[in-house]
Amino acid sequence: MVSAVQAPSPRKGRAGARAAKPVVSVVADTPGQRRFKVFAVVVLSLVVAVTLYPFVNVLAQSFSDSANIAAGKVNLFPRGFNVDTYRVVMSDRDFWVGYRNTIVYTVLATAISMVLTTCFAYATSKRHLKGRKAFILFAVFTMFFNGGIIPNYVLVTSLGMRNTVWAVVLPSAISVFNVLVMKTFFEAMPEELEEAASIDGLNTYGILLRIVLPLSKAVLATMLLFYAVSHWNSWFQAFLYLDDKDMFPVTIYLRNMIAGVSSTASSGAEASDIGMISANIQSVTMVLIVLPIVCIYPFIQKYFVSGVMLGSVKQ
């Protein structure tokens, strides 16, 4: 449906590159081409530095004392190294309540997302299914046109979901993009496999649970992580629909912190004092929110990338 790339054929490309090597060595790099390469390396190194700097800066601030931060001395390395701020934040009840809520919401929302996405993607991956195109269109249309904030708000409120977990978990349960990724993966499965299973007496549910899903671990892992990260990071649903502090996810805890800073700023008062004292507390909170993502990040990166590629293959 959404086609960004014509079926990428990395295998073919790589094989081509290997075969081409002798030819490349015959036509040697000109000085101009070498200069171009150096240029690319320099620019890309700068890009990496700029990309990573904010993370390093936050980490450095989280271990620094507020005096050094207020003096504007903390950049790449902590000044006045201490872990007191971590103690302060970690002894705050609201922080832990928020963290626990975030974990609960993420687990629940991810589970719901996975079930709904898998069911829809599997059924619509069957080419013989009557009405398949209509169902897909039904889903894809919502990518390009949506109800908007107010009607959504009115709906969730009138369903009585305000101040319940469901307001956070349900409205964002299905991502159509993820459905398309998964559907593409299922479509690529050999049909003989499922035919054999059905001859052996398995029905559709059995085939899905015992044959298809065990063979789809890569795409399931990708989807799981896509959903988990997006639910972990979400804040707006909670911001709209939850009033009880004990239900806030940790992103709202941080949001209220930075909103406090900007409202002090907008009142025109000298913000440096109030703003700066909380700078290291903010930094610690940010580090703790980002930590789980950064920890799993190196392991999941390749899955994410292959997931994006799957979803964009032209059909």
């Binding site: 014509q6 990395p10 101009g32 171009f36 950049n75 069911c119 009557k130 804040w235 929110i289 590629m309």
Partner: protein, 326 residues
């Protein structure tokens, strides 16, 4: 919509009829399809219900743009008022101010944010060293996985009075700038941070497209004496053109829907002058002043423009470049 388990008995008794219909028409009838695939259809029930409730009901809920709505009353409003609310925002100078802001912010984001991943991917493609390449990619994807709250918190720390940016400003002997309160800086901050967050991830699709370009094309170009720029211009860019066009369509379609959550977190009353966009304005009008119908009218207008933009960008690209989304 909800297709559930059909009563099997009744269907079986009618089966001969259904079969006859199938012979006459090449397409299977719904009845035989349901009988054969009811398990597959049963898998669709919950997701379709979800789309219906959480996507299509709110779309229908847009009728309150033309009906008077009272909080606590019907989701679809109480009585028809025609185009009153549309007239209202057409007469509202604030609406046109935020409309302009949205166009400028969306346009700038498109102008800077769209080419950035392409250039990034082209530069990455120059590298032969596998390890450095992978390191650059790994680092550049990281911001994509950050919550928008984290991103805004980072921005606020970097541009604060004693933050890194102001330290650099200080190196040039200038006074610190209160970036976050200054409407002149809102767009720069927004667009820069957007590029920071999306450039690496956005390059993935281009990198994939680049691997599909046949190496022999480059060799032929080299033998013909093409230099690096000429190779890029005549081989690489045509090779990734379909990807570029597709993503451009998608970007144009969503360009009015500027990052609502980010703008909402980043703006404050002092920066409304440049930083207030349609979605944040209607959010305030609707949910903070309780003018639900009025805000819905504005939102519907925005969604419709978005839809028209996608459809026309798609039509143009089908005609001009021969590639389209559907």
């Amino acid at each position: 919509m909800a297709v559930s388990t059909p009563p099997a008995k009744r269907l079986r008794s009618r089966a001969p009829l259904a079969d006859a219909a199938a012979v006459r028409a090449p397409r299977t009838t719904w009845r035989s399809a349901l009988r054969k695939d009811w398990r597959l259809y049963s898998l669709l029930v919950l997701p379709l219900l979800w789309f219906l409730v959480f996507k299509y009901l709110p779309m229908a809920g847009n009728v309150i743009a033309f009906r008077r709505f009272t909080p606590g009353g019907s989701v679809f409003g109480e009585e028809w008022v025609g185009l009153d609310y549309v007239q209202m925002f057409i007469d509202d100078p604030t609406f046109w101010a935020v409309f302009r802001n949205t166009l400028v912010l969306g346009g700038l984001t498109l102008l800077v944010g769209f080419p950035a991943p392409i250039i990034f991917a082209l530069l990455l493609n120059e590298l032969k060293a596998r390890r450095f390449k992978r390191f650059v990619q790994t680092a550049s994807y990281l911001p994509h996985f950050m919550s928008i709250v984290i991103v805004v918190a980072m921005i606020m720390q970097l541009v604060s009075l004693r933050g890194t940016i102001n330290q650099v400003v200080g190196l040039f002997g200038a006074d610190p700038v209160n970036f976050i309160q200054n409407p002149d800086w809102f767009r720069t901050i927004y667009v820069t941070s957007d590029v920071w967050q999306t450039m690496g991830w956005g390059a993935i699709l281009y990198l994939a497209a680049l691997t599909t370009i046949d190496d022999s094309l480059y060799e032929a170009a080299r033998i013909d004496g093409a230099n690096r720029w000429q190779q890029t211009w005549h081989v690489t860019l045509p090779g990734i053109a379909p990807t570029v066009v597709t993503l451009l369509i998608l970007n144009i379609g969503s360009f009015l829907a500027v990052g609502f959550e980010k703008v909402l977190l980043l703006q404050n009353p002092l920066t409304y002058e440049t930083g207030d966009v349609i979605s944040t304005y209607l959010y305030r009008v609707g949910l903070q002043s309780n003018s639900f119908s009025y805000a819905t009218a504005i939102g519907l207008f925005e969604s419709l423009i978005g839809l028209v933009l996608v459809l026309s960008a798609n039509a143009v690209s089908r005609r001009v470049a021969g590639s389209s989304l559907w």
